[in-house]
Symmetry: D2
């Protein structure tokens, strides 16, 4: 399957500022690209790209005052398979986790593991460890939280989501991630593209999406507390402790968003 | 100058659990060691050490149920010089910062940069950038916050410190770190040894200490919002975004602290 | 001057529930009414009215399942004078305040006086006491906070407004009220009607408004951190510690708002 | 039964300030007094007493700079009966509650009903309404929260207690009160004397105590989430929405506590 992905984002900058953008597909998906995946800036500006400590592709540049447009469109090959489901995947005791996975057990800005450990233990401590426990967390969050763009709030944390029960994509994942970490299951927040492939088209405009991954058995597995069903065509951009680590753009100063278009569409394969 | 440093910590574990300890001196100080710096466990247990993504030396092990003692005593050479002071050190525009420094501008669990940016700008936005601005932040926190062990609270954040104006070592540094980041000055939280060398002896028992570092000009510089004066004999253990990244011990389960002794003393150099 | 005031509010109730409505003009304005001020329910239901401990007129009733409409339109005489301004009004030392005013110095749900006392003292402790200090608080909040209906959030507190700097009417007043109380100036939250009399018409639909009052010299005085200018034609409905005490409607169960129309218009006086 | 109650409290005041003290027994218990119940100030100062809107006896005075001592000792007759238990007491539908009880359903500073309603409903929404449901809330809080004076924190709210699971007397009651209100059961916070009558003597020094009351059937009933058992000899001082309404002393300025002695002892009745 081929998927066209892209974005067309316009900011109005009151003054020159530094920006870091996480808009490239993740290094793990680069081999699937069928067209270049290069951030185009208008006006043009020098872009310096690097991998952060989470392994994400980051691009930094200086945005001049005035309108700044970030765009790209590329084509990626996808297996066309839905998210893997493996009810036999076991939780790994902390002592057996790879060292680079340990940080995904800790607190982060929007995931207050320290404040939610009693809550998580009460709700899910009695569920048998393993895939099914993560799935139980995921379904619980999906069932209890109501989705709505009007519920977005830039500083909303997992505990806020737990009390309010309303939010956007990122809020669902933050709550599920925090619950998992509180149960000593490594969990990380993922941003990427997710189109409507295989499901009814959404009435809302496309956006980047968020989901989460947990480490079970010997690898990371995809879960999505927003949709709570295996989906086809996720394109992984970046993973981190929470949304603060993997914001699509981080502007070090004032930046007013003027346009935000995201494209994720299956395209027929040429014969 | 030679400094004897060490610790003798006892936990009572209700059940076997995994522990990560950050008790070794930082790799940058290993060359100064005059005796081995090895975590001793009683009962003995296999210890696996590694460097985390912040560059800190971490040791992980499985603590059995019952009493577990972590101890060591080592000798380290120190310049005997007080913390460097350089009023000419300039702030680096974000676009010129090394990429590995950028993460120290972001939010973290106890440093809610997003919630404190207006406050920091109002208080310090008008101060001329550079060393003196950081020193102004450091002195402000030092003056406004009252120290007391009874004010320690495990989930206290920088905003909490800002409203309460009371706390322990880590609280002072979290508030200062958050203010700096909100001003686009990279700041990181540091744990280490700090004795009474050159100052009146403290009436309270020794503890590990915390301070913070900011990136100015071309390197990290030491500041300490708790003491707000250059000190002699800091021994760097670990740096991270905040206390959550560099806890002395992180126990993945219940661990009851029974004894906590820390030693930091200048010793005469042998001729 | 005559002002037509009224409301037409429709809820969809999933089940029968008790409702308390604060929609009548305040007892202090009853003498100004030129038409009856009676809550009309559709479907009709028995309404029991009483004064709460703050002196507000409250009406309680049982709303049946299904659509429930609350409406009324009445005519009130107004002096046509703008809010009184008295720069000579003095702050009253707490020991000289009337006892029934003391409760307006305390904490309430959305006014965390305990968490904001250091902040208020730093910002306004150095301003000479009296009318001008309250006006300084009012102007500060007005200048620092950005208005927007999209920033409304049901659990937003004064401290949240202080960190976010965005909100609706009630948020401006909560922050100003909290600052005043932290300075030992009694302050209360007021809801009422406020039309566009004497100012450019607002592009947004009419709503109930909120302002606040402070006790100076020997009485309560009107301030409004949202508009920060004397206005004509305020019609006082209710006062309390904060928005929680004087919600237009408090539903003890699920109630889905379907329509919310508020009218406040000057009408020509008949000869 | 006769109980000697009293207090001997010393503050050091940096400057003259106004103080409100709630140290008299509640008007509902005045008929039981066998000795005068008068606040004694040293140095003497004029005391003005009044009833607040909750019906509590309050005394206000101006404390001069320097040491100020508040004391009294009085004798009160008590039935000697333990707190009434009535498993048949029913919850009253909100529409049938007396109007003066309604305010005990609302939010207050330390009882964030709005943030805890989903949590309360999940935990206790399925329990049959009535006495037993309140008792279930009370026992849940008692079981889940650990008592310790070192866990006291002046701004701790019910949600904080829910996440931390640690606290003092007032924290237990705040959490239980909030849960009840979220279930539409009127609940109020009570301060008073509670000695060791009928139970093993506590190793900690006497203090004022807190408990809570809920309105069931046709009256207020005593519950105590800290002890969770009927007790003998409670002497009611004051009730309010939460601790902020009924602080033993509220000082409108700096006041440093130097001594705090409370006495509650059964004394033999004279023949």
């Amino acid at each position: 399957m081929l998927i066209r992905i892209g974005y067309d984002i316009v900011f109005e900058m009151p003054a020159e500022i530094a920006v870091v953008a996480l808009v490239n597909v993740h290094p793990s998906r680069v081999a699937d690209l069928r067209e270049p995946d290069t951030l185009i800036l208008d006006p043009p500006s020098e872009v310096h790209c690097y991998n952060d400590t989470f392994g994400n592709r980051c691009c930094r540049f200086v945005a001049p005052a005035g309108k700044v447009r970030l765009s790209n469109s590329t084509l990626i090959h996808d297996s066309g398979l839905a998210d893997a489901v493996n009810p036999r995947a076991r939780e790994v005791p902390v002592q057996n986790l790879p060292t680079d996975v340990l940080r995904y057990l800790l607190n982060s800005r929007y995931c207050e593991v320290d404040r939610m450990s009693h809550i998580a233990t009460e709700l899910f401590g009695g569920v048998a460890p393993g895939w099914n426990r993560v799935q139980t967390v995921c379904a619980w969050v999906h069932d209890k939280v109501t989705f709505g763009y009007e519920f977005a709030h830039p500083t909303k944390t997992a505990l806020d989501v737990f009390t309010e029960r309303r939010g956007v994509c990122r809020d669902f994942q933050h709550l599920a991630v925090t619950m998992c970490r509180a149960l000593n299951i490594p969990a990380r927040y993922v941003t990427g593209y997710l189109g409507d492939i295989g499901v009814p088209a959404s009435p809302t405009p496309m956006d980047f999406s968020a989901w989460f991954e947990v480490y079970l058995e010997d690898r990371w597995w995809t879960f999505d507390a927003r949709h709570n069903q295996p989906r086809i065509g996720r394109v992984f951009i970046a993973a981190g402790r929470d949304a603060s680590d993997v914001a699509i753009t981080t502007s070090f100063g004032m930046a007013n968003l003027k346009q935000f278009i995201v494209i994720t569409e299956e395209v027929p394969e040429a014969r």
